[in-house]
Each structure stands twice: as structure tokens, then as C-alpha cells.
């Protein structure tokens, strides 16, 4: 039985070229980039090269890239660092209800420190309305932080429209583009974002590699203070192999983005078609078109996600779910709540994210398996039996 990973959103394998680029920096060119002697030279050059590559993917300047250890770190750095640097200007920050917890939780902490936070609602496709953004802005607003793409339902925000509103009001705009970079073109000039978070492990770079892209002239106080690495913006010995890996992953993403994305969206569309043909009572979540090319998010009515996930796992198919039981925190997905999905459907949600290993032949097999599993679980479901008897939900 071939294992079929349809959970690339949770983790991607490091690309062979990326791993190859990283390898010399573990035991051979292991020096510290800040060393004055020759052992610092190769690492220092490698850092500079990686910085160029990441900047190149985003249309930014290399000095605008700050390497971090994760998207979470970059998001925390932006929100807390911006609040600390600009609190005298105002204490209002805007984000969205479907942003990631590494944005939402720092905002909650800032609220305890006297900041006011507006979380913009989304429509049932997960879209933020630029008009509502405009109306939320006050004289106190110092930052807007809205994700580029949602990692669950895959919805792509209308970034250029949102940043146009921010620019008109003169307010810096941060986007958590962790789920988007590497899959949709994201040029900081064209989209007009001032700060952008990305993580290498989302697009075949290594874990522990991430970056904040920060437009020249933007100011924030560092989250990690100490040495003056990253021009004093982020202390700590540079993780050279991870950064080199991120650079290579960014380079590959830049070269292959169009090809990768179109391949993935074709496979995704085929998977969607196969599933909907094979299994009754499925619901598509997120936006039908404005979504990540490798993302498919559905609800399997009448059954619960973890049970589906476990049966699929036994069939060698790996997926994710927004159900309460599959979350570490045992909370149902705040995203599915925000788009107004009823609890039954949120509990029965399945997230498929495709990737390099995905193949055309997977779709019919997965559809066949899901058909079998859904039927089996529905036979056991009090909700389904009620539906059969009473004809309604």
C-alpha cells in the first residue's frame, strides 16, 4: 500500500537540493558568521546569499530580510515589537478573526497591556471586506495585520485592496503569509505590504527557518535582545544551515512557483471532483476560487473528523481535520466557527493539502476509501440515522 500524504500543510519534506545546500554547514563550514577569522567567512557569505534569495522571492531588498526561527516568532516580533515601538502614537491594532494564533494570542496579551484590538469578521468564504477595514481604522490605529492565506480553508485575502486602504490612511500593513509563500506569487511591492512573515518548512525548506520581510524605514523593537545579529533586530547566533536551506527553498519556489502551483491545482481539482462524485453529503469550505492551489477543505456530513482521519490513516492516507478532537487544545477550529460553519460540519471537516508527492492516481483511490469510510461511520452515526428516518438534519 502506497502511503498518500495529503497533509503537506502540516509539514513538507526538505527538498533534496535544499538538504544538499545545507549539509556543508553542519560540520564543515560550521563557523560563526560573526567571527573575524576565516572560519566566519563561508558562513557569512552563505548568509548574505540566502538573504538575497529570500528577498528575490518577495521582490524585496536583502537588508529587508530578518531571519527568525519560526513564523510564530516573526509574528510575535511584529506585533509586540510594533506595539512597543509605536505605543506613543496609538494603541489600536486591527487583525482578522481567522488569523493564526501566533497573531491572535500576542494581540490578546497586548489587550491586557491596554491596547485595543479589532478583529475583522469574514464572510462565509473567509474573505475580509476592505470596506470594513476602512471603517475599523481609527486615529489610534498603529498596525494592521491580516493573513495572506488561511492555512485551513485556504482562502486568499484581497491583499492589494486591503493594503490600498491601509496606505491611504498611512498605516503599516503586516501580512502573515506563512501559508501562501511558495504557492502564490507574493511581491511586497505589488501587494504593498510593509511587513511579511514566511516560514521555510511550508515550502520544502527546513523546520526552524523563517523570516520577516520588513520594508526599509519600518521600525520595531526587537523581541530577542542580546547580540547585534540581523543588524540588532534579532539576537542569537544565526542558524546558518537553516538559513541556507531557506534561501535554497526560496530560490526553488521562485523558479518553480507557476509550474508547481498549476500542477497542484490540477491535482487538487481532480481530487475534489473525485471526492464529490464518490461521497454524498460533502460540503466545500473556503472560497471556491480564491484559495491556495494545493488546498481542499471539505466537511463530511454526519461524521466526526478524527474518526475519518483515523480510518484514512489505516488506509495509508494522511489528512488533517478542524474537529475538536484532532486539535491539541481540544478546541474546534476558530476559522470554521468564523466562517459560520455549523458545529456538525466543523466536526466533520477534512483538510487536504497536496504536495510534491501527490500524484494523479491518488484521487480515485482516496475517493474510494473515503466513500467506504464515510459509509461505515455514517452507519454508526446517530445524526445520519436521524437524517435517514426524518429526512432532515
Amino acid at each position: 500500500m502506497r502511503a498518500i500524504n495529503l497533509d503537506y500543510g502540516a509539514a513538507t519534506p526538505v527538498d533534496p537540493a535544499v538538504l544538499q545546500a545545507m549539509e556543508p554547514f553542519f560540520a564543515e563550514h560550521y563557523g560563526n558568521p560573526t567571527s573575524v577569522h576565516d572560519l566566519g567567512e563561508r558562513p557569512r557569505l552563505a548568509l548574505a546569499e540566502a538573504r538575497e534569495k529570500v528577498a528575490g522571492l518577495l521582490g524585496a531588498g536583502p537588508e529587508e530580510i530578518i531571519f527568525t526561527s519560526s513564523a510564530s516568532e516573526a509574528n510575535n516580533m511584529v506585533l509586540k515589537g510594533f506595539a512597543a515601538a509605536h505605543r506613543s502614537k496609538g494603541k489600536h491594532i486591527i487583525s482578522s478573526v481567522i488569523d493564526h494564533f501566533s497573531v491572535l494570542n500576542p494581540l490578546r496579551t497586548l489587550e491586557k497591556e491596554g491596547f485595543t484590538v479589532t478583529l475583522l469578521p469574514v464572510d462565509h468564504h473567509g474573505l475580509v471586506d476592505p470596506e470594513q477595514l476602512l471603517q475599523a481604522i481609527t486615529g489610534e490605529t498603529i498596525l494592521i495585520s491580516i493573513q495572506a492565506a488561511n492555512p485551513e480553508i485556504g482562502t486568499l485575502q484581497p491583499l492589494a485592496q486591503l493594503t490600498a486602504v491601509a496606505r491611504e490612511k498611512g498605516i503599516p500593513f503586516h501580512t502573515d503569509a506563512t501559508a501562501a509563500v511558495g504557492f502564490v506569487p507574493l511581491n511586497v511591492q505589488e501587494t504593498g505590504v510593509d511587513l511579511l512573515t514566511l516560514a521555510g518548512d511550508q515550502f520544502y525548506g527546513p523546520k526552524g527557518s523563517a523570516a520577516l520581510c520588513m520594508r526599509r524605514g519600518t521600525r520595531l523593537l526587537p523581541l530577542l535582545e542580546g547580540g547585534i545579529q540581523e543588524k540588532g533586530r534579532r539576537a542569537g547566533t544565526e542558524n546558518v544551515p537553516a538559513i541556507v536551506g531557506l534561501g535554497m527553498a526560496a530560490d526553488l519556489a521562485r523558479e518553480m512557483l507557476a509550474e508547481r502551483s498549476s500542477r497542484l491545482s490540477i491535482l487538487r481539482d481532480s481530487l475534489q471532483k473525485n471526492l464529490f462524485a464518490a461521497v454524498p453529503h460533502l460540503h466545500l469550505n473556503g472560497h471556491p476560487h480564491l484559495r491556495l492551489p494545493h488546498n481542499l477543505h471539505i466537511s463530511v456530513e454526519f461524521v466526526e473528523g478524527e474518526a475519518l482521519l483515523m480510518h484514512l490513516n489505516m488506509a495509508g492516507i494522511y489528512v488533517s481535520s478542524g474537529s475538536t478532537c484532532t486539535s491539541q487544545a481540544l478546541k474546534s477550529s476558530h476559522v470554521l466557527q468564523a466562517v459560520g460553519l455549523i458545529p456538525e460540519l466543523a466536526q466533520g471537516s477534512l483538510l487536504f493539502t497536496l504536495g510534491t508527492g501527490s500524484e494523479a492516481q491518488d484521487a480515485p483511490y482516496v475517493a474510494e476509501q473515503l466513500s467506504r469510510i464515510a459509509a461505515q461511520l455514517r452507519r454508526m452515526s446517530p445524526l445520519y440515522q436521524k437524517y435517514l428516518k426524518e429526512g432532515d438534519r
Binding site: V303, E304, A307, M310, M314, S323, L330, P343, L383
Partner: protein, 123 residues
């Protein structure tokens, strides 16, 4: 998967799935908001559980728990069945993951509700 073999066994081959027609008692617990929902139907003969069936909407633990409870209860007297606790079920399954103890371990509750329903009907 974080579940042990006993749980995986009951999850993948659940015993006593279904709904008894004309049951002597029905017990329902939970709801889809919290993620787990169980419906037990029972047949009683000579103060014993002649048949026990369940329907469950829920995670792997919830399904395994339902299946195990039905198996444990079947053939027992009502009083004996009323003494099965959620803790007994978890133990009989070799232990549930800590975070599943509260939300999914409702099988005994559903069974007891069905028995109580039966006793109500007898009045």
C-alpha cells in the same frame, strides 16, 4: 496514532453498532458542538440487558468507548450495569489518552441513561 491496541481494535471493529427497533430504553448523551454524541438502545429480559446497541458520532476514543461499554454491559443485570463507571471502561480499554478522559468517555453515562429510561417506562 496515540491510541493503544485495545482502543484501535474496538475503533476499527466496533461491536454492537446500531439501533434496536422498539427498544426498552434509550439513552443519549453529548452533542455535536462538543464533538461527541452517543445513543444507546437496550432490550431488557428478566432484569438483564438482553441486547445493547449504540450509535456514536465522535472521535476514535468515543467509538471505542461505546463499543466497549456495550460489550461489558450485555448480559449483565441492570443493577450490575448501573455500576459500570466511565473509569471502569477506560481501564478495560487499557487507558485513554489524558486529554480524552473527559470529552469522549461518556459511554457509561449513555448506558445508564438508557437503563434509567427503561425504569421510567416501567413505572
Amino acid at each position: 496514532m496515540a491510541y493503544n491496541e485495545a482502543i484501535m481494535d474496538h475503533f476499527s471493529k466496533p461491536r454492537n453498532v446500531g439501533e434496536i427497533e422498539d427498544p426498552d430504553g434509550v439513552g443519549e448523551v453529548g452533542n455535536p458542538v462538543c464533538g461527541d454524541m452517543m445513543k444507546f438502545t437496550i432490550k431488557v429480559k428478566d432484569d438483564r440487558l438482553d441486547d445493547v446497541k449504540f450509535l456514536t458520532f465522535g472521535c476514535g476514543a468515543a467509538i471505542a468507548v461505546s463499543s466497549k461499554v456495550s460489550e461489558m454491559a450485555k448480559g449483565k443485570t441492570l443493577d450490575e450495569a448501573m455500576q459500570i463507571t466511565n473509569k471502569d471502561v477506560a481501564e478495560a480499554l487499557g487507558g485513554l489518552p489524558g486529554n480524552k478522559m473527559h470529552c469522549s468517555n461518556l459511554g457509561a453515562d449513555a448506558l445508564h441513561k438508557a437503563i434509567e429510561d427503561y425504569r421510567e417506562r416501567q413505572k
